[in-house]
């Protein structure tokens, strides 16, 4: 079983992507290959075929980082256009004043106060992307970046 408990070195890697493809390859089983060859789980968030038979897919892909990168490489080589959709929260160090107000509302402890240095630490790995900190940080140090 590929649970994180069994394979701690391979924490699930999840990214949302936009895939656009032309009429020539609209009938190729692209998503099937992502599953079969790269062991990526997918969730189709949006899918459309336009009148001239070009297609658009918004996918949430979950797998390992390595397989994800190989999968994206495969998509690009297949002649489809891939761009990221998902967002990530990051900290603007120039704005952070290390007050620690965020500790009160960060539910995953991604934001924590090191009690020895009294500095705020941000661990993106723990961040669930709830984005509460983006408006609740008084100094507005937390930002959303498009991946």
């Amino acid at each position: 079983m590929g649970t994180p408990a069994n394979r701690p070195e391979e924490a699930p890697y999840s990214r949302k992507i936009i895939v656009r493809y032309s009429a020539e390859i609209v009938d190729k089983p692209i998503v099937y290959r992502l599953v079969k060859d790269f062991d990526l789980a997918f969730n189709i968030l949006k899918a459309r075929i336009f009148p001239r038979r070009e297609g658009l897919l918004v996918l949430d892909l979950v797998g390992t980082k390595e397989n994800f990168d190989r999968g994206i490489q495969y998509l690009k080589e297949s002649g489809v256009f891939v761009e990221p959709l998902s967002k990530r929260v990051s900290r603007n160090m120039d704005r952070c004043v290390h007050c620690g107000a965020c500790v009160a509302f960060c539910s995953t402890d991604a934001l924590s106060l090191d009690r020895s240095t009294m500095q705020v630490h941000f661990d993106p790995e723990k961040c669930s992307g709830c984005e509460i900190c983006v408006t609740a940080c008084p100094a507005r140090a937390m930002e959303i970046n498009l991946l």
């Binding site: 004043v97 290390h98 007050c99 620690g100 107000a101 500790v103 009160a104 509302f105 009690r115 008084p138």
Partner: protein, 396 residues
Amino acid sequence: MKPCKVTKTYREINEKIRRRKAVVVTAEEIIDIVDRHGEEEAARRVDVVTTGTFSPMCSSGAFLNFGHSSPRIKASRVWLNDVPAYGGIAAVDCYIGATEVVEGDPLNSVYPGEFNYGGGHVIEDLVSGNVIRLRAEGYGTDCYPSKRLERNITLKDLPDAMLFNPRNAYQNYNVAVNLSDKTIYTYMGVLRPRMANANYSTSGQLSPLFNDPYYETIGIGTAIFLGGTRGYVAWPGTQHNPNVPRTAKGIPREGAGTIAVIGNLKEMDPRWLVGASILGYGVSLYVGIGVPIPVLNERMARHAAVRDEDIVMNVFDYGMDVPSGNPKSLGEVTFKDLRSGAVTLNGRKIPSAPLSSYFKAQEIAALLKERIEKGEFFLGEPQWTLPSVAPDKKGP
């Protein structure tokens, strides 16, 4: 009060600073020195103890003079980047308050309001050197015929700009919890329901007024670190009240002392004046303040050696009691516990979170220490110290 064995004067200490011979330590460092050598020896060795605090301080703002235009205007209504400033003073003077919200902000109509821009941010933009859109309206007089003025300004263009904060550096402050069953958004930050977190705002043993609990060296003319430059204590702050319950060591158990401070905005630095957007509450200004405490005698050494465990703070319910105007203390906690990350109240362990940056407070105390050691910053002898308790009510 017993007579002191060590007595130093401001003049003597300033002379030592001039010769770069003054011994300066931070409010954290003095604790060990008093522990190791006793307060009398500490008073002989140490001349100045530096303190620091960095926190949103709502009672802050700046007087700006933007110079006369031609034709002249008596600017009775003024906006800076669309944030209203008070224009009810002389023709081209105004006061921009830290908590004034930008015009057209949805406020709390989309709850909780984000309050992305306001007076605190205008002040930060000014000290950052950013361009500000000044807009003014007058009603027209014989001597001030113009009725409208619009122009871009920067801090450099202004003839005068002074930060004047009527109440800063509260000696002690409430710890806030929320006993209600929904999340609330307060000036004490986000408070999760059923006492899920306790928020506080002080730098404890580093905080200026905890290090001189009876204000024996702090008063009108005390030179301080304010927003990065040298400022002054101008007056007791609004709501200054020395007569509150105190611990055996003289530490107030509640609000107590405050200071009104003043300084030249043009010399200030955006590292120490930062606009704050407090979710669901409004805008404010983080202000960095450091007060040097002269160790005039062993009494001051003892006071400056205050430590986190000596500081007690009362916990109040911001879900119901405080907003309705009937604050009742739910209990006392120590600053040591607050800083450790959790407090125990009525047998329950509650995670604690600050609004005040202890890290920045440390930086301020260290910076002020460095400036005094280098002979760049001298003590200002107060003309009159802040109102305190009656002499017979003062602790040891």
